[in-house]
């Protein structure tokens, strides 16, 4: 559990300083296997097993087939007794110091181990959560960017339709303009032709009237006063005859 704190601080060390960078790079360059794992594999959950805090489990497994479960303990006891009896390990003042310090350490680890472990775990969790947040945010923004890009592409596709519509508009404008001008031209031509017609009509009418007036004038001029008297007398006699004929019928 202390190793967890070491791990946390080692990580902090790794990230900072040239020594840390050197350590990381050196370990990277030793990947001599052909598999280079690009997404870094996650850390193993638990470390190698250790019994009583100082003896690796491999020792017990090594001796198990030949001596069973108590083998390593017997080995330990035997070694201890041998070293004490031959005074390879000498009991002096340092022994008592070691015993006291050892007992305090063991007591401390047993009592405060789990809580310190939980604390270190919490620290790690927070770090991982922060990194995960950053990763998630980056992913979300990137997917959004991809979607927008796709939408822009779709929009760009629609631009051909827009072009066609505009082309149609322009064609229609041109057409309308052409037709307007055509109308204007026909109107103007018609007006001029109408004017010519009216002019000719006027000419003819004036000639007619002039001729009629001249004929009338010449006829009236040619009627002498004597002819006038004779025609009036004839008219009166005709009227008398008529009056007689009508009186007879009534």
């Amino acid at each position: 559990m202390l190793s967890r704190l070491v791990f946390v601080s080692a990580n902090a060390l790794k990230g900072s300083g040239p020594l840390g960078a050197g350590l990381v790079q050196a370990s990277r360059s030793l990947h001599t296997s052909s598999q280079n794992l690009a997404p870094v594999p996650p850390l193993p959950e638990k470390g190698g097993k250790v019994r009583h805090g100082i003896f690796p489990e491999e020792l017990f497994q090594l001796l198990y087939p030949k001596t069973g479960v108590t083998g390593p303990y017997m080995l330990g006891t035997g070694l201890l007794i041998y070293m004490l009896s031959k005074e390879i390990y000498v009991i002096n003042h340092e022994t008592f110091a070691a015993l006291s310090i050892g007992s305090v350490i063991v007591y401390g680890v047993k009592k405060f181990g789990p809580s310190v472990a939980a604390f270190a775990d919490k620290l790690n969790e927070e770090k991982v959560a922060k990194a995960q947040e950053v990763k998630d945010a980056a992913l979300a923004s990137l997917t959004q960017a991809v979607e927008q890009e796709k939408k822009e592409q779709w929009r760009a596709e629609g631009r051909t339709l827009l072009f066609d519509a505009k082309k149609n508009n322009v064609a229609m404008l041109l057409e309308t303009n052409y037709r307007e001008r055509l109308h204007m031209v026909t109107n103007e031509v018609k007006r001029r032709l109408d004017y010519q017609i009216a002019l000719q009509d006027l000419h003819r009418r004036m000639e007619q009237e002039h001729m009629i007036n001249w004929v009338e004038k010449s006829v009236i001029g040619s009627i002498t006063p004597q002819q006038e008297k004779e025609s009036i007398a004839k008219c009166i006699s005709d009227l008398k005859v008529l009056a007689k004929s009508t009186k007879a019928t009534v």
Partner: protein
Amino acid sequence: MADRPVPIVEKRLLDVKLGELVTWIGGRDATPNGIFAALRRGHDRYYNKYINVKKGGIGGIAMLLVGYVAISYLWEYDHIKHDRWRKYH
């Protein structure tokens, strides 16, 4: 699982047969670079097994400390010899 035959020098120590031991020792890289590389390998093995894990235990550092204590006792043995209780064992 017969892979291609590996040269003796590159085998790990536990895979070397007894007769090949001398060749193995002779062929190991003893230049300073080689020694550093060997130390680096050993450090990486220990580190990745006991310390670089999600839920490490006390064993990781405790073993290092016990090793330190043992080596320092060994180096001081000539001095500690004089504290012996008995002259003849």
